[in-house]
């Protein structure tokens, strides 16, 4: 009925397998140390089940449902971003227009209009928002608000919509189908977060940017980079049109840019003196806390794939 290409379905099964193993380890941990409080870890794992169930479901239901879903994620992310950063009260009217960019941007995606998709936010919305702001007639704080609004729409609408555009690229690897590249991007980005954390815990000594993120170390970064590059070389030919060599480049790109996305959103939170951007996802924080790396990896992976194969 749903006709999922074989390699995409194996990949999904593998992810579910990893999740079962992780949940099993958690249960075993709690059983061996009944007095330790694992509430947050349990919440995190349970949220992973939900997130993966939702994403796999929408991917299985087809391109259009998945595009609407990623549009909805953009909406949640934009709303969260504009809620935590300071804006002027009168900006709410401009913010209303910023929201309207989401259905249009994802409409261009659904019709596969690459030319419009790629310039709509950086050209048209970029020029439109200050114009709408002028009509408000309030010039105090104009530059600040214009900057915030542009950055917000670029991060949460433009960058995230690249995930959706992966779904409408002509399929070049029939065994992976349109789901393959998206799965690859999502999995590699999250796997990179896990690897950098793991290597950092295991070997971490030299801090990279102690002011922003005291737990990030060179050991974690390089360990993650090597692991993800290697795994990517193996997985890319299965899930994407990329070759083994190109898969290595894609892996290194995802690892490095994922790190940057993470620390960019961390810097935003540090500046605002908050710990999480929201509490939509129990154990994880807000939607931006979960999608921080993805905001950077999605457009960079997309354009690498697009440049090398389309």
């Amino acid at each position: 009925m749903f006709n999922i290409p074989s390699q995409a379905s194996y990949a999904m099964l593998a992810v579910l397998g990893l999740l079962v193993i992780a949940s099993g380890i958690l249960v075993a941990l709690q059983w061996r140390r009944p007095n330790t409080d694992y509430t947050e870890l349990r919440q995190r794992t349970l949220s992973w089940w939900w997130m993966i169930a939702i994403i796999f479901s929408v991917l299985i239901l087809g391109q259009n449902i998945a595009i609407i879903f990623f549009g909805f994620l953009s909406f949640l992310a934009l709303k969260e971003f504009l809620s935590i950063v300071p804006t002027r009260h009168c900006d709410r009217r401009v913010i209303f227009w910023a929201y309207l960019s989401i259905p249009l941007q994802y409409y261009w995606v659904s019709m596969g209009w690459y030319g419009m998709f790629i310039i709509f936010i950086p050209v048209y919305i970029f020029l439109l928002l200050p114009m709408r702001m002028v009509l408000l007639g309030e010039v105090k704080g104009f530059i600040h608000s214009a900057g915030i609004l542009h950055w917000a729409t670029m991060l949460t609408v433009f960058c995230i919509s690249h995930i959706a555009y992966l779904l409408v690229l002509p399929v070049q690897n029939p065994a992976a189908g349109f789901i393959g590249p998206v799965l690859f991007l999502l999995f590699m980005t999250q796997f990179n977060d896990v690897c950098q954390y793991f290597w950092g815990k295991l070997l971490g000594k030299r801090k990279i940017i102690p002011k922003v993120s005291p737990n990030k170390t060179w050991e974690g970064f390089i360990g993650g980079l090597l692991t993800v590059t290697l795994c990517s070389a193996l997985l890319a030919p299965l899930l994407t049109p990329l070759s083994i060599g190109e898969g290595m480049i894609a892996g290194a790109l995802i690892s490095a840019s994922g790190f940057i996305g993470d620390v960019v959103i961390s810097s935003v939170k540090r500046d605002l003196e908050i710990k999480d951007c929201g509490n939509l996802i129990p154990g994880h924080g807000g939607i931006l806390d979960r999608m921080d790396s993805l905001i950077y990896t999605a457009p960079l992976f997309f354009h690498f794939l697009y440049y090398s194969h389309y």
Partner: protein
């Protein structure tokens, strides 16, 4: 009044909860402090019509009929018609006469009846929606209600960000996440000024947990 209860449940299930959860989005803190049964009073700061709906939506549909916002009779009921029907049937307000002509006993009669039935009141001690995200002077009403019913729990709730989503005198709704910070019970005091001060202090303390911002 089964039919009214069904209307209220449908109103919240089909309209209020989807709007609050999807178009708004809540950062709820201190949910364990939320009283699950009455007699109790939630005192909250007031910036938007959404305040009441957000507070009520914290409760499951099966409990919605027991949550009773205290609202201005002159604003909601005077003109009658749709607004009055909405306020009385869909939301189930307890009307409050703000004209100053009623004596204290009849003024709080509705509140006492509701508390006698173990219901949970929502009360905005500022009396009216103020400027966005600014506290107005707190009134003493809660103190007088509590004096008659010392077993009532008073729980402070700080709302932040709703004055931006739908401010006073604006028709355009703009989606924003908002903070809902639920504090610990405020103990009764002997005199009203101390109680008002305790409420103000609770709001002040809870506002530190807000993560949404709108000041530039």
């Amino acid at each position: 009044m089964l039919i009214n209860r069904i209307i209220k449940i449908l109103f919240f299930a089909l309209l209020v909860k989807p709007v609050v959860l999807i178009l708004l989005g809540l950062n709820v803190r201190g949910r364990p402090n939320l009283p699950d049964k009455g007699p109790a009073i939630l005192v909250a700061n007031h910036n938007s019509h959404l305040d009441t709906l957000v507070l009520m939506s914290l409760y499951p549909l099966s409990q919605i009929h027991r949550i009773r916002p205290v609202a201005a009779a002159d604003y909601f009921l005077q003109k009658g018609g749709f607004l009055a029907w909405l306020a009385l049937t869909c939301i189930g307000i307890i009307p409050m006469d703000r004209s100053g002509s009623a004596d204290r006993d009849s003024l709080f009669k509705g509140c006492h009846e509701a508390l006698d039935n173990d219901q949970i009141l929502i009360l905005f001690p500022e009396g009216s929606r103020g400027q966005p995200e600014q506290m107005s002077k707190i009134k003493k009403g809660v103190f007088y209600v509590l004096k008659e019913r010392p077993d009532t729990k008073v729980i402070p709730v700080m709302l932040h960000g709703l004055g931006r989503a739908l401010p006073r005198n604006e028709a355009l709704f703009v989606p924003f996440n908002c903070d809902v910070i639920i504090g610990e019970e405020i103990p009764m005091t002997e005199k009203s000024p101390a109680f008002v001060a305790a409420i103000a202090a609770a709001f002040e303390q809870l506002s530190e947990y807000c993560i949404t911002q709108n000041q530039l």
